[in-house]
């Protein structure tokens, strides 16, 4: 009886320590490229790309299963940054840069249910139950997630209004 207990304990200890040791020494490091790409993404996990959050999108981009233009929230700027990181040529086809968008609540049909507030990943929607909600422009990423949750269709996406601060000259045409 004692011999059995001791031998099994010894066996368990050896195997356990061995496994613990190999797990540390031969650990497979996560793909650093993926984490770098994930850092570049908006990080709001809005799901507009159709993948499960920014981490999954970064993995898919690194694996080459989706193009660099996967993230609608990041826009052309992010697509170009990703392409530069991966060293691939970028085709911007099918990606129109509408510029930054923000959600807007139509006051006349908002019933103040608060569903949009609960959905928003960046807490950009403010308001209280049975009160009209408002959107903070600086915090809204324009992901459109709140639109799906609104029972009255009171939320629309609009381009962020251009101000004197961020207006820019159009690119002048050059001779070919």
């Amino acid at each position: 009886m004692l011999a059995a207990i001791l031998s099994l304990t010894a066996l368990g200890l050896t195997l356990g320590l061995g496994l613990g040791y190999t797990a540390r020494v031969f650990a497979v490091e996560g793909n650093s490229l993926v984490s770098e790409l994930a850092d570049m993404m908006p990080g709001t996990n809005c799901g507009q790309c159709g993948l499960a959050g920014c981490g999954a999108a970064a993995e898919a981009v690194a694996g080459g299963t989706v193009p660099a233009t996967v993230c609608p929230g990041g826009g052309v700027a992010l697509a170009q940054a990703i392409a530069a990181k991966l060293g691939i040529t970028l085709s911007l086809e099918g990606m129109e840069d509408k510029g930054p968008m923000v959600a807007e609540v139509a006051e006349d049909i908002c019933i103040g249910c608060g569903k949009c507030m609960k959905h928003c990943a960046t807490d950009a929607i403010v308001g209280a139950a049975k009160q009209i909600h408002g959107v903070l422009h600086e915090a809204c990423t324009g992901c459109g997630g709140c639109m799906e949750d609104c029972p009255t269709g009171a939320i629309v996406l609009r381009p962020l209004p251009v101000t004197l601060r961020d207006w820019n000259w159009t690119k002048p045409a050059l001779a070919a």
Partner: protein, 495 residues
């Protein structure tokens, strides 16, 4: 300036064969009669916009504070004449985009009633900090066009113990002569302003740089500066962009401002001559900045010249005063090289507006661009030592990062490169676009980081709330259990 440069003359810039400054510069200064209405903008300076402190319907007097400065780098705004505030809202900005910005509209009553005049003070009996405060209260900003608030600039100069003041009377832009006019007619005020600034900053000497195409101004300023040994009037060659602070500092002191740094980093502070005159009035008599000299010039103007204009005057009122020979093909605020094309004439003048040009079609002809022949004229012309032809090639290919690496940030947008380009390539226009694009991307990156932080904060909050709910539920459960235990216990004892 090195020996080679002395022999060859300046290596940078351009020299327009006709600077179009005369005859407008030689016409005596006129004072514009008060218009019916003024739209005084809240953002006429670099920094945060001023915050209105009057209400619609209120009567204001000339010189009264109508909007307070907000934050360290900002400037207050004052009523240029007496009248009733009729609106606080948006008007078209003097900007090529035609976008609106906030302004206070005053219907003038024509009485031009001012605040009771304050007693004149001796600025040299005041502490430098008090002088700066008076400059700040008067809403003085750099009148050369950059509109940086003058008080924080003077404070920075004092903090960094600058030794040299460079007073900018370059006015190198063709067509413009507002600085020329103030030096000819108010040289005493300018020199007194220089002395006050030297007192406020602690600078030991002041160099007044005036382009040699303004001999009358040089004579007047020399005469006014005669009693003061520390103020030296130095004629400089007429060469665009001599009025740019970096170029003027280099010509006058021989020192080059490092890329990305301010002139204060090499111990020099630059102020415009019109700013000095405004500082003189602000510190001596407490008069805030509510009017300035504006050059009205261009082929379409009937009586070109310099006009004393209340700030907030609509361009159409100003043009009606000087008269138009024909409908202008383009309206420009500022000079022809760096000025802003205006969308229409219903825009207000601002503190930084030194000129209004009404140009005819003949004056603005633009040729179609042809391919770059790599002649290098733009490289020779660039006062900042940049390589415009390489930068534009990168921008055209969408490689903004490449343009950034070629130090596009140092580009002054002076337009010399586009002016000399034999292929008429819109070089400076491309650089303005690229700078905007680079800025936009940096902004987007900042925004991304901000929203990422928000998303993280939300996740943490939700987790904390769930944990707190669970803890509260456990506590309630424990309390209930204790209650039941106590109840059964008491039942047992009672039994």
């Amino acid at each position: 300036m090195g020996l080679l440069e002395l022999l060859n003359g300046a290596r940078w810039g351009v020299h327009p064969h006709d600077d179009h400054k005369r005859p407008a510069a030689d016409v005596p200064l006129r004072v514009m009669p008060l218009p019916k209405r003024l739209c005084v903008p809240l953002l006429q300076h670099v920094g945060a916009p001023a915050k209105p402190c009057v209400a619609v319907g209120e009567r204001v007097l000339r010189g009264e504070l109508i909007a307070r400065a907000q934050g360290n780098v900002s400037a207050p705004v004052h009523a240029p004449s007496s009248g009733i505030v009729t609106a606080i809202g948006e008007v078209t900005a003097p900007h090529p985009s035609g976008l609106p910005f906030a302004a206070i509209t005053i219907e003038l009553d024509g009485k031009d009633e001012g605040l009771p005049t304050a007693e004149s003070v001796d600025p040299f009996g005041l502490e430098p900090a008090e002088v700066s405060q008076r400059i700040a209260d008067a809403g003085i900003v750099g009148l050369g066009g950059a509109t940086f608030p003058s008080a924080p600039k003077a404070q920075l100069g004092r903090k960094l113990a600058v030794q040299t003041l460079v007073i900018n009377g370059g006015e190198c832009e063709p067509y413009l002569s507002s600085d020329d006019s103030i030096m000819r007619e108010r040289a005493g005020e300018v020199i007194d302003g220089v002395r006050i600034l030297m007192h406020a900053t602690g600078a030991a000497e002041a160099l007044v740089g005036i382009e040699d195409n303004k001999p009358e101004a040089i004579v007047a300023m020399r005469k006014a500066a005669e009693p003061f040994a520390a103020i030296k009037v130095r004629p400089v060659p007429a060469r665009y962009p001599m009025g740019s602070d970096r170029q003027l500092v280099q010509v006058l002191t021989g020192k080059e401002v490092p890329s990305g740094a301010r002139t204060a980093s090499i111990g020099v502070l630059v102020n415009n001559v019109s700013t000095c005159a405004a500082i003189h009035r602000a510190v001596r008599t407490g008069e805030p900045l509510y009017r300035r000299i504006v050059t009205v010039n261009g082929g379409a103007v009937a009586q070109p010249g310099n006009v004393f204009v209340p700030i907030g005057t609509l361009i159409e009122d100003l043009l009606a005063f000087v008269g138009l020979k024909e409908t202008p093909a383009r309206l420009v605020m500022g000079g022809p090289m760096m000025g802003a094309a205006l969308p229409h004439a219903q825009v207000p003048t601002v503190k930084g507006c030194g000129g209004i040009l009404a140009l005819t079609a003949a004056e603005i002809t633009v040729a179609d661009p042809s391919p770059c022949i790599r002649c290098g004229s733009c490289v020779k012309a660039c006062p900042m030592g940049l390589v415009p032809l390489e930068m534009v090639a990168r921008i055209h290919a969408g490689d903004y990062e490449g343009a950034d690496k070629l130090a596009i940030d140092d580009c002054l947008a002076c337009g010399c490169c586009a002016y000399v380009c034999p292929s008429h390539i819109p070089l400076v226009q491309s650089f303005s676009h690229a700078k905007g694009e680079i800025w936009k991307r940096a902004q987007q990156k900042k925004r991304n980081e901000f929203t990422k932080g928000l998303a993280q904060a939300r996740t943490e909050r939700l987790e904390r709330e769930a944990r707190e709910r669970a803890e509260a539920a456990a506590k309630r459960k424990a309390a209930r259990a204790a209650q039941t235990a106590a109840a059964t216990g008491s039942q047992e004892t009672s039994a």
